[in-house]
Symmetry: C2
Subunit: 239 residues, 2 copies
DNA sequence: GTCGATATCGTGGTATACCATATATGAAGG
DNA sequence: CCTTCATATATGGTATACCACGATATCGAC
């Protein structure tokens, strides 16, 4: 848990100069954001990782009272990131394989709907921007820079969802993203997946450009369901 | 707001007899459930309806302190049921037409995925149960008992989602259901919609029985997207 | 009578003290 | 040395007091 506590440097430290304010967010929201980011940046599937949180400890680390911390933790609990066990402690949740697969399936449902909506509502310019995300991979295979590719991969999916124009879907997908990203490190390592992934993405872009609603939807769904199947087969380390 | 406060009778009133306990839920959770149900049962689109809540008032109504109330309200806020405006008050949110449509689209995405999963994983027995939901409407047209039909309608969609077997999708859909149910009264009134709805449902059941994955998914999606289109055209009263 | 400054109040935000209880700890007895 | 029971402790849950700040009302001046 040190990794989380230490990430949490300062919050209320007086803003250096004027204009800095607009700091109108409540301590609860600040704590929420901070904790969420900290959890997202923690490799919770590392068996060594300590997953227990401590209200009082967070209190001193953030320099605020228990109240905003507790409210922030309540939100995180509802979002499925942590679980509080009365008189035992608060624990970051490791998702089981089943839960991870369900999240990916849900993702597939939402992103394919976004793709459908994109073919109906997005502008040509917006769709065209999708191609630029892969410009840097035109000449060299993605296996040479997996890390960058992984970021571009996430950016692509996020962009497709944004094209759909549904705030609701974007919001719902954000949290799924955080959860799924936690096992990204493990799943991307197979470089052949990255190569096939790019092909899929290009096909999706083509379908969007041609305004082929059904095809775009189907390709998007299948692409993500493939990930679910892959996780099912190759991620035995998940509970 | 009286309608909400008055709904809220008692919580900690001593359980009548023994065995009643297992009341292990925290006051926060009790308040959360109570408030959520109260909001769900309130016709928030009635222009007359008072939408403002008051922490202190809820405090006295529920007989608990502000702390669990506030934590419950935080959760409801994150779920999009209320919005707290500092120094102004806490308000139940009326969804705009756009938001309502987005929620229905999201519903369509999730339920169609559930239908897909159902064709792959559900047992024949489970699928067969779907037909029983409409037994009572075999002989008389649904227009004669719209209220019962409305319940059966919701039961059908809930059942399809359950057949998918994804806890995650079921959870996510619960809240969507509550939001969408709020305008149900207005949309069901067109009796022809109810009649067409039943036909759609029967087709969906057939597709599920035949394990036609693509068809079940497509019919389910289209059926719900039709509702979205209907709301878009006929629910001008939404913001 | 109208506009503006000031005081009061209502409201959500925060800090803190207190409580209940499961778990841990250790002493006593066998 | 093991078992058992009593006490201590840690931890999440709850109640409450206080605070900051905006809104509104009231009063005064022009």
């Amino acid at each position: 848990m040190n990794s989380i506590v230490t990430l949490v440097q300062r919050t209320t430290a007086a803003t250096p100069l004027a204009l800095a304010p607009l700091n109108a967010t409540s301590l609860r929201d600040q704590a929420y954001t901070l904790l969420k980011n900290a959890i997202a940046d923690t490799d919770i599937y590392d068996p060594q990782q300590e997953l227990r949180l401590d209200e009082r400890q967070l209190t001193t680390a953030l320099g605020v009272s228990r109240t905003p911390i507790r409210e922030a933790l309540s939100l995180l609990e509802q979002e499925g990131f942590i679980r509080t066990v009365p008189r035992r402690g608060i624990y970051i949740i490791r998702k089981s394989k089943r839960e991870m697969i369900e999240m990916i399936q849900m993702w597939a449902a939402l992103e394919s709907m976004a793709a459908r909506l994109a073919t109906l509502n997005a502008s040509d310019e917006e769709i065209a921007k999708l191609r630029h995300l892969f410009d840097e991979f035109q000449n060299s295979p993605p296996s040479e820079h997996l890390c960058e590719y992984s970021d571009a991969n996430i950016a692509f999916h996020t962009a497709v969802i944004a094209l759909g124009g549904s705030q609701m879907i974007m919001e719902a997908t954000k949290n799924l993203m955080l959860h799924v990203r936690a096992i990204r490190r493990a799943t991307i390592s197979q470089s052949d997946r990255a190569a096939r992934s790019i092909i899929d993405h290009l096909k999706i872009i083509e379908a969007l450009e041609r305004r082929d609603t059904e095809l775009a939807e189907r390709l998007t769904r299948q692409h993500t369901l493939d990930l679910a199947a892959h996780v099912d087969l190759h991620c035995g380390f998940l509970g």
